[in-house]
Amino acid sequence: QKEVEQDPGPLSVPEGAIVSLNCTYSNSAFQYFMWYRQYSRKGPELLMYTYSSGNKEDGRFTAQVDKSSKYISLFIRDSQPSDSATYLCAMMIKAAGNKLTFGGGTRVLVKP
């Protein structure tokens, strides 16, 4: 079993809909939780990060962490075709080197 599980999709939604993405994990020691967006043939770009449990909002993006359930979510409101990308969750235990453990990524397609 992988340490971080993420549905690969693809997830197809109409423009303007809410995109809901999630990851589950097994290691309760993870402290930092990130979401990256990766466009085709590009490197991942950091979207949001949270420390421990709770919600964080940034514009159209909301990240949620539920450590008791070992479950994290990313919501994209008013989705746009430019949001079409692969979204990667990642988690970290703060230590020397700050190694990240990634989910496999969910491919999202927002149709005009």
Partner: protein, 110 residues
Amino acid sequence: DVKVTQSSRYLVKRTGEKVFLECVQDMDHENMFWYRQDPGLGLRLIYFSYDVKMKEKGDIPEGYSVSREKKERFSLILESASTNQTSMYLCASSLDELKFFGPGTRLTVL
């Protein structure tokens, strides 16, 4: 803006060749990383470095080595390239918990 650059976007090499992938960051970050990304397997850590001349093995170091002679530069070396090393290679650098990636090098080994 943090900038992480990689020497090549696309590279084609032959089996047995020695391959160098270069990564440079301009933000004075202590930590630098090399990942490979494959369909269905996600990003996997090959090596990382938290200081000049320091290196640590990641999850899949076999067949790779690294070099960090200067703080801003982290090189990944394939001593004798094999076809199973065909992949997308991503370099990253980090300030504390925030990690920034380069554009990636798509390596094909024939």
